[in-house]
Symmetry: C2
């Protein structure tokens, strides 16, 4: 059975989509046709959408599901009265939160993903530029300026993870590709030992790595299973020596790896802080 | 008044944070101290968190707000019984959705940001690699392979926007820096006309551009206000000639710009589709 789902919002729709996806992921036996509907910010657009809902209901033989984060009552009511199972994701929470905080909501849409905090926004953009300029170990002398440094063999997922950390958490992220040269020495440059507190290793299963490398350089020595296995084995020895956390990108998404890194960085900070407090008390 | 807010989850916490941020953005007169608490997946961790909540309540003189997406009843109840205003973001929706869909929820945490759809995940990672390899007009001959192409003067926000489009929507994004050479000709290469349907211009206010460029190359001719004004004026003429949408990165975040681009691409597709349908009927 196919079931159409709409993510609807007066602005970007990012919140409706994120919570909607989370909820749908609890029902993975059903095949959802997911439709993204941002900027439904007039009664006319809402009415047009109810026509599409009816088409989906006719096509699927069952009414569509709507995840919406509406603030305007008129637009919300048009959607709610359409032929759909309507889930309003904001309404109940905004009212309860308002009662708890003792202030009314602004009811302005699109505040969440707008540039409401220019300093954090600028920090994120600068972090992205930093990640671009410090990708692939281009400037290891910049590692002291980084908030986080990733180490891993070629194609283990360093670049996308750095970019995610920069984009979402505003962390200046750099990465170092561990290569042949390091394997021959059996060690990495001192620079990496100097940033152990913010250094994380990414690993990947050899079979998966082979697929990725084969895609990149088909038929090359670099893409053989043997070479992938050797690279990862030698890299693991180096990570052990560095005594750093190792995260596996085969089964974990960049979102999952990034949130683990952010948590580990915070735990490190808190440990350092409590050490200082203990020493001073 | 300062008020502490916790975003709590058994896994990455991305959903709790996204919806929590959206809700808080409705109350922008209050100063929230926001604490990100992923991986609260054992009773012991939940209990430790309730101790921190009590500390925050003592410090702030008011109980903290908790946004949580818990699936485990035991862990949820520990948090709910702590000294906090507890907002469970999942519970009510999961149950209502389950009733509507007629299947029970899996109650597995962390499904939403895990690699549950390998094909879309791979598409996103490939799109990031594409964006990295096609940044700053390095390979205009690749534009025909792109899903979206951005054009803009140096430092107008092309790179972060391309990376966001790739990371979130899995769109292969490339960009073209419009430069002196184009201004002298008063036009851009034919390649850009060939991809008009997926071409979007980014613009930025000259004052803002000057700040950004001054940061990058302090005291350079490139960073003078005059040069920024000229660049933008000449670029605008080119965008007019290309007849493409122009988005302003001064006041809009990469999230907002990206969602507008995604919407415009979809609208284009639907227009093309309805043209085909009309012609065939």
């Amino acid at each position: 059975m196919n079931r159409t789902v709409y993510f609807v919002s007066e602005s970007t729709g990012i919140t409706a989509e994120t919570l909607g996806h989370s909820l749908l992921s609890q029902f993975d036996t059903i095949d959802f046709e997911q439709v993204y509907m941002p900027y439904i910010n007039t009664a006319a657009r809402a009415k047009a959408l109810t026509l599409r809902m009816q088409e989906a209901a006719d096509r699927d033989g069952v009414r569509p599901v709507v995840f919406a984060t509406m603030l305007n009552n008129e637009i919300r009511d048009i959607l709610r009265n359409g032929n759909c199972f309507y889930m309003e994701l904001f309404e109940a929470f905004v009212d309860r939160l308002s009662a708890e905080l003792g202030v009314p909501p602004s009811l302005q849409s699109g505040r969440s993903h707008a540039i409401t905090k220019p300093s954090f926004y600028t920090k994120r953009i600068e972090a992205i530029n930093f990640a671009m300029a410090n990708d692939d170990g281009i400037r290891p002398d910049n590692f002291h300026r980084a908030n986080v440094v990733l180490i891993g063999v070629s194609r283990s997922g360093k670049t996308p993870t750095c970019l995610y950390l920069a984009m979402h958490y505003g962390l200046r992220s750099a990465n170092y590709p561990v290569t042949e040269e390091d394997f021959e020495r059996g060690d990495v440059p001192q620079l990496l030992y100097d940033c152990q507190q913010k250094l994380f290793a990414l690993t990947i299963d050899p079979q998966r790595l082979q697929l990725v490398r084969e895609e990149r350089l088909p038929g090359s020595g670099y893409a053989t299973l043997k070479r992938c296995q050797d690279d990862i084995r030698m890299a693991q020895q180096i990570y052990k020596r560095l005594r750093i956390p190792v995260l596996n990108t085969t089964t974990q998404s960049i979102e999952e790896i990034s949130s683990q890194i952010v948590k580990a960085l915070k735990d490190n900070q808190e440990r350092e802080l409590s050490k200082t407090v203990t020493m001073n008390s």
